[in-house]
C-alpha cells in the first residue's frame, strides 16, 4: 500500500493576492449566527491553557527544505479530545507539511528545524521511524485527497482493510472479516458485503474515501486528520463525508483536524479555525469569531471572495 502521494507542494508560484476592498457590511453583533463554533461549551482558542493537555500539539514548529529554505515559520497547533479544528490555506501555506510532520512522514530532504511535536504529551520531534510506527495510525491517523492512490488496484478492498486490521490493529486473523464488515457498517455503507468484494476501479470516490476512513479508524486513533479529504468529491458526496466526520467525532470522541482550502467547508464542521498562509498561522480562534470579526486582511479577503463569487451572493447576507 502506498502511503502518500509525492506531490506535497506543487511548487507553482502563487498569484499576487487580488486587491479587494473591505468586506461587505456585516450584521450587528449579537445577531444569531448558525455555526458550530457558537456552542458555549466549545473550548475557545484563548481558554486552551486551562484545559486538559492536548492529544496533539505542535509548538513553534519550523520546517525547512534541504537547501535551508524555511517553509514553515514557527506554528502552534493544539487539539484535545472531542475538538474539531479546521485548518484553511492555499497550497504552499504549510498546511500539508504540518499534517505530514505530525505523522512523521515529511518528504525526503524536508526536516523539522525548530519547535516541538507532542503527541499525548510525548515529544516526537526527534523520534525514530520505529517510534513513529507506534504512533502513526495508532494515536494519529489521516485520510487525504485521492483515496484510490492509497489502495492496491489489483486486490479486493475487503482484503486490504482486513490486512490493516491484522497488521496494524493486531486483530486475530479469524476476526478480521467480521471487524471489516462492522467498521464499514458503522460508516453508513450499504451493501457492505458487495463493497468488500470490489476493487478500486469498481467503487466511486465517495465509497473509496469511506474505505480509507475505515482503515484510518481500524486502530481506534485519538486524532483523525482529514487533509482535503472531500476536495475531489462531488458536492453531494462531500456533504455525506462531512456528516460522517461530524458523527465520528462525537461517537468516538475523536479530535478531528479538517484541512481544506475552502473556509466554508471547515466552518461547517469545526468549532475552531486556524488560517495558514506562507508557512504561518495568521489568524486563529473560535469559528464564529473568525467569521464574524476576522482580524487579518487575508481572512477578510477569503470571506469577501465568498460574498462576491460564491452561492453566498444569492443566499442572504454573509454574516
Amino acid at each position: 500500500m502506498r502511503l502518500l502521494p509525492d506531490n506535497v507542494r506543487d511548487g507553482v508560484p502563487t498569484e499576487a493576492p487580488p486587491q479587494t476592498p473591505g468586506i461587505p457590511a456585516r450584521v450587528p453583533e449579537g445577531t444569531p449566527l448558525h455555526t458550530p463554533g457558537l456552542s458555549a461549551q466549545a473550548p475557545s482558542f484563548d481558554e486552551t491553557p486551562l484545559l486538559a493537555p492536548p492529544l496533539l500539539a505542535v509548538e513553534g514548529l519550523r520546517i525547512s527544505a534541504a537547501d535551508g529554505t524555511e517553509l514553515v515559520h514557527g506554528i502552534d497547533v493544539a487539539v484535545r479530545r472531542g475538538d474539531s479544528l479546521g485548518i484553511v490555506g492555499e497550497s504552499g501555506s504549510g498546511k500539508t507539511l504540518l499534517c505530514r510532520a505530525v505523522l512523521g512522514i515529511l518528504p525526503a530532504g524536508i526536516h523539522v528545524t525548530g519547535g516541538r511535536i507532542l503527541i499525548e504529551g510525548r515529544d516526537m520531534t526527534a523520534a525514530t521511524e520505529p517510534e513513529w510506527r507506534a504512533v502513526r495510525g495508532h494515536r494519529v491517523a489521516a485520510v487525504f485527497q485521492d483515496p484510490a492512490s492509497y489502495l492496491n488496484p489489483a486486490l479486493r478492498v475487503g482484503k486490504q482493510l482486513e490486512e490493516v486490521l491484522r497488521r496494524t490493529a493486531g486483530v486475530h486473523r479469524r476476526d478480521t472479516r467480521g471487524q471489516a464488515h462492522d467498521l464499514l457498517t458503522q460508516l453508513g455503507l450499504r451493501d457492505v458485503d458487495r463493497v468488500l468484494r470490489q476493487r478500486v476501479g469498481e467503487l466511486s470516490g465517495g465509497m473509496l474515501q469511506r474505505v480509507l476512513i475505515a482503515m484510518a479508524l481500524a486502530t481506534d486513533p485519538d486524532v483523525l486528520i482529514a487533509d482535503e479529504a472531500t476536495t475531489a468529491l462531488d458536492v453531494t458526496v462531500q456533504a455525506e463525508i462531512l456528516d460522517l466526520l461530524r458523527d465520528l467525532r462525537t461517537q468516538r470522541r475523536l479530535a478531528l483536524v479538517l484541512v481544506s482550502h475552502d473556509l466554508a467547508v471547515v466552518s461547517a464542521v469545526c468549532d475552531r479555525v486556524q488560517v495558514f498562509r506562507d508557512g504561518r498561522v495568521i489568524e486563529g480562534g473560535a469559528t464564529a469569531r473568525v467569521l464574524r470579526a476576522p482580524g487579518h486582511p487575508y481572512t477578510r479577503q477569503l470571506l469577501s471572495a465568498h460574498a462576491e463569487y460564491g452561492l453566498e451572493r444569492y443566499l442572504g447576507s454573509i454574516l
Binding site: V235, Y309, G310, Y314
Partner: protein, 276 residues
C-alpha cells in the same frame, strides 16, 4: 431561434460500441450572443460529452446543434474541416498546460492558431496583444515559459489563445477547478470582465461540477443529471429557488458561510425524491 448563438435541440448522444450507452437524453440548451451559461453536473452527468458534441468531437444519435443558425451535426468531410478551421467555437481545458507548449514562450502558444491560419505577422501580433489585454495578462508575463506562470496566469493565457481566433462561442471545461482560491477568483474576474466587454457577440458555455464557481459568472444555469437537463433558469432563481429535487440537493450540499446547511434528513429526502 435565429437569435441564438448556440441552439441544442433534442440531442441524444451514445458512447461506446456494442453495447452503446446513451450518455445524453433529449438535451436542449440555448446561448444568446453575449450570454454566459453555466452547465453544472456531477461526474458522469454528461457535461463534458455535451461540450464535445458542440465541438463535433462526438456524433449525435439524434437532435440538432445550431451554431449561428447552421446545423453542425450534419457537417461531414471537407465542410466539417473548414468549419473547424474557422474556429468559431473554441475550447478551454481544465489544465491549461494541454494548450500551452511547455517549451515555447506563452505569447507564441497564444499565437499558434493564427500562425496555422497564415495570418500576417503584424496582424498576429495585434490580435495576440488584444487577447492578452482582454484577459488582463501583462505582456511581459507572455514573454515567459508556461512554467514561470502561476496556474491562474496560465489559465488566462489559455483563454487568450482561444480568443485570438475571434470565436463566437467559448466552451470552458472546469476552467477554475484545479486552481487555488486566489487564482480562481482572478480567473473568474477576468471572465466577468470579458463578458461585460463582449456583450454583443461572444457567448460562453462554462462547465463545472462546482456550482459555487459558476454563481458570479453565469447569467443562466443549466443543471445536468444523468444525461438529462433537469433545470434551466436565471442563476439567481436556480440558486435561491431551485425546483428539481436534484438541484435542491445540490444547493443544499454546498457549505455556505454563515448559514447552517439543511440537515441530513432533508438531504436524504431530496435524494429519495430524485430516484422516484
Amino acid at each position: 431561434m435565429s437569435a441564438s448563438l448556440l441552439a441544442v435541440q433534442g440531442l441524444d448522444v451514445d458512447l461506446g460500441t456494442a453495447p452503446k450507452t446513451r450518455v445524453l437524453h433529449d438535451v436542449s440548451l440555448t446561448i444568446r450572443p453575449g450570454e454566459v451559461v453555466g452547465l453544472v453536473g456531477e461526474s458522469g452527468s454528461g457535461k463534458t460529452t455535451l461540450a464535445r458534441s458542440v465541438l463535433r468531437a462526438v456524433d449525435a444519435a439524434a437532435g440538432s446543434i445550431h451554431i449561428d443558425g447552421r446545423d453542425v451535426t450534419t457537417l461531414r468531410g471537407r465542410a466539417l474541416r473548414e468549419w473547424r478551421r474557422a474556429g468559431s467555437v473554441q475550447y478551454v481545458f481544465q489544465d491549461p498546460l494541454r494548450s500551452l507548449d511547455p517549451g515555447v514562450r506563452v505569447a507564441d502558444s497564444v499565437a499558434e492558431g493564427l500562425r496555422i491560419a497564415r495570418i500576417p505577422r503584424a496582424e498576429q501580433e495585434r490580435r495576440v496583444n488584444a487577447a492578452l489585454a482582454e484577459v488582463g495578462l501583462e505582456h511581459d508575463l507572455a514573454e515567459r515559459l508556461p512554467s514561470r506562470l502561476s496556474g491562474g496566469q496560465r489559465q488566462r493565457a489559455a483563454i487568450a489563445r482561444a480568443l485570438v481566433m475571434h470565436p463566437r462561442l467559448l466552451v470552458l471545461d472546469e476552467p477554475v477547478s484545479a486552481l487555488d482560491a486566489a487564482s480562481r477568483d482572478r480567473v473568474i474576474r477576468s471572465l466577468i470582465v470579458l463578458r461585460e466587454a463582449r456583450q454583443t457577440d461572444l457567448g460562453m458555455l462554462v462547465i463545472s461540477h462546482d456550482i459555487g464557481s459558476l454563481a458570479a459568472l453565469s447569467d443562466r444555469l443549466v443543471v445536468l443529471y444523468r444525461g438529462r437537463v433537469v433545470e434551466d433558469g436565471p442563476t439567481r432563481r436556480v440558486v435561491a429557488a431551485p425546483q428539481h429535487p436534484y438541484t435542491r440537493l445540490l444547493i443544499a450540499s454546498v457549505p455556505v458561510i454563515g448559514i447552517e446547511g439543511p440537515d441530513r434528513e432533508k438531504r436524504a429526502a431530496l435524494r429519495a425524491a430524485i430516484v422516484t
